[in-house]
Symmetry: C2
Subunit: 400 residues, 2 copies
Amino acid sequence: MNKNFDLKSTSGQARAGVLKTRRGEVQTPFFMSVATRAAIKAGVGMEDLEAIEAPVVLCNTYHLHLKPGEALVEKMGGLHEFMKCDKPMLTDSGGFQVFSIKRKKITDEGVWFNSHIDGKRIWIDAERSIDIQHKLGADMIMAFDECPPSRLQNPMEPPTNPAELKGWKRRQERKLYFKIRTAVERTTAWAKRSIDAHAAKYDLSLPPTQRPQLFGIVQGGCFKDLREQSLKEITALPFDGFALGGLAVGEPSEAMYKVLDEIAEKLPADKPRYLMGVGSPKDLIEAVARGIDMFDCVFPARNARHGTAYTWNGELRITNQEFEASTDVLDVSCGCPVCQNGKGYTRAYLRHLMTVDEELGKRFMTIHNLAFYHDLMRTMREQIMADNFEPWKAAALVKL
Amino acid sequence: MNKNFDLKSTSGQARAGVLKTRRGEVQTPFFMSVATRAAIKAGVGMEDLEAIEAPVVLCNTYHLHLKPGEALVEKMGGLHEFMKCDKPMLTDSGGFQVFSIKRKKITDEGVWFNSHIDGKRIWIDAERSIDIQHKLGADMIMAFDECPPSRLQNPMEPPTNPAELKGWKRRQERKLYFKIRTAVERTTAWAKRSIDAHAAKYDLSLPPTQRPQLFGIVQGGCFKDLREQSLKEITALPFDGFALGGLAVGEPSEAMYKVLDEIAEKLPADKPRYLMGVGSPKDLIEAVARGIDMFDCVFPARNARHGTAYTWNGELRITNQEFEASTDVLDVSCGCPVCQNGKGYTRAYLRHLMTVDEELGKRFMTIHNLAFYHDLMRTMREQIMADNFEPWKAAALVKL
């Protein structure tokens, strides 16, 4: 009763389970639809999310703090009431966006940064992040972490002399290592402060289905020892779930898979595991194979708006000439409101809409791509339940 | 059986009737949702139009001719199949857009103009317009007309000497008169050619519920004698319905009402009457009061995208500070998917979406404004059926 995660089945390292929140249960693995500013982009509405059985919605703390502000959202009854969303919701800590901003000042206490909207100087730290998230009112909230880049942001020009290059690379790597080590240390300190701030408002002895759940974030870049240090420190704290942060931030997919190989199975088996900001269909499959349960990413929606549709036979560029008079739907096996199992909108119509830049085209493409992602997660769950994940994965990766 | 319009009731000059098309019956008066490029703007979908009981959809021949081209639409089975729209549809003749283009060459034969997309030189005349519309496949199509501006496009600077001003104005008026007289003559000639082109493809002795209907357009600007000449010439031709064109093109509303006073009741009583490109809620009410049955206008959708919502208590600017924390819906008496009779999205949420430029805000505002327009038309029909139009009108205009 005091658990928020039931493991139902495994297939290799892949896990199928149930995440229990105060707004209902969610079958894992799952993908979260990103509603950055309390709306899915391209005009996709809650009724569209219903139609594609989107399980969980993610909103971004940084953007909502700037506009409309957490005070207003709280006054309006929280994000669920504000957006008319009855699905479980998760908010990030705002850290990822803040650390993406060029002009910022990071100290052990927190971060000063300038709003991208009006340049206003804003302070954020663990206590503030948790307070904002409490006011937004999501069912799962994230500890405030330092999310460093996977590469140095202002590396010196590499030397042209090949003899010097090796030493230069080693020095760069050392610099990055120390930067990430500092981030790991801060992340642990801020994780403790996040828990304290959460406990100050919610009785953490209450079952996690009766309060917002707090997830901790493991940092460490692609350095095995730093990942292990962070994992050890973060998982020692009484979080409701654990996320891997600082991945999918520019490093090659193979580097990310290596970190997952080294780290994922060491995450507590009785808690949900969340890989933040990931990713392509291939990334999702590889990460589920390594034991991850939860994902979020702007890819499917952003690619949709830019004209790329996902199908079970791979990606397609809807604006390509070849689809000019195509009576096919995007994916005949897709039951989304756009494809309607083959009876929906043709590629020719979608191509027309995207070519003339009609918003309806972007909305349709987004609905389909999100539907595909949710379909992919449900399919993976079925294959895990049938203990057939590896054979399925091998076949799926040939096409996707 | 061979009629496409049944007059059910009148209240003063206002008419309630039934327009019969090959895709079903429509209760008049009605407003058409504008789907310029085979889509309602702002991502509004067919399911949204269903939800607000939009009766008829209008597409623009000019835009569809340029992209994706009528040949493709025909190949895809026509607009209904292309857009997955089972409502009656109307296409305009393309004339209005062509005559809005600055660089064009009009002759008695037709018009040369340059595409606004790529500058390509294109010829359009009555035969071509009807052929394009046949291929697009709407249920009601429009004759090709010359739609002149309500004012001279390049008038000379008015003289600064007041003594000369009166003469100058008279000369400008004469110039405009001759321009519009030419347009009236061409419109009649092109109307005949439009009918011939239509008859070459469809047997006009067939009931209008078994073929596309062809509407004629009366021109004449704000000159009573020219309007009467055009009306006499156009209504002498075997059209299925009659439109008033060349109004709502910049003249004051009062000038338009005067033309309607002079002309509308002389339109055949047994055919539908269509006032093209109109208008504001007030314009719709004043025109229905003068016996008009059909309308189309980009106003409600464009204003929605720019933040103005229509309600039964008048317009509201959703981005106004006063709505920052408003828990009201746009209009508590509105049953649209956005308002849900008071249980829908708050003004605060819509204000947030519009403030941060989320497409969902534009989509919601558009759905609501179109719903309001359709609601307004249904209300007017009820008041006509109850022979209570004038008292209702007087009360409604105080608020709208």
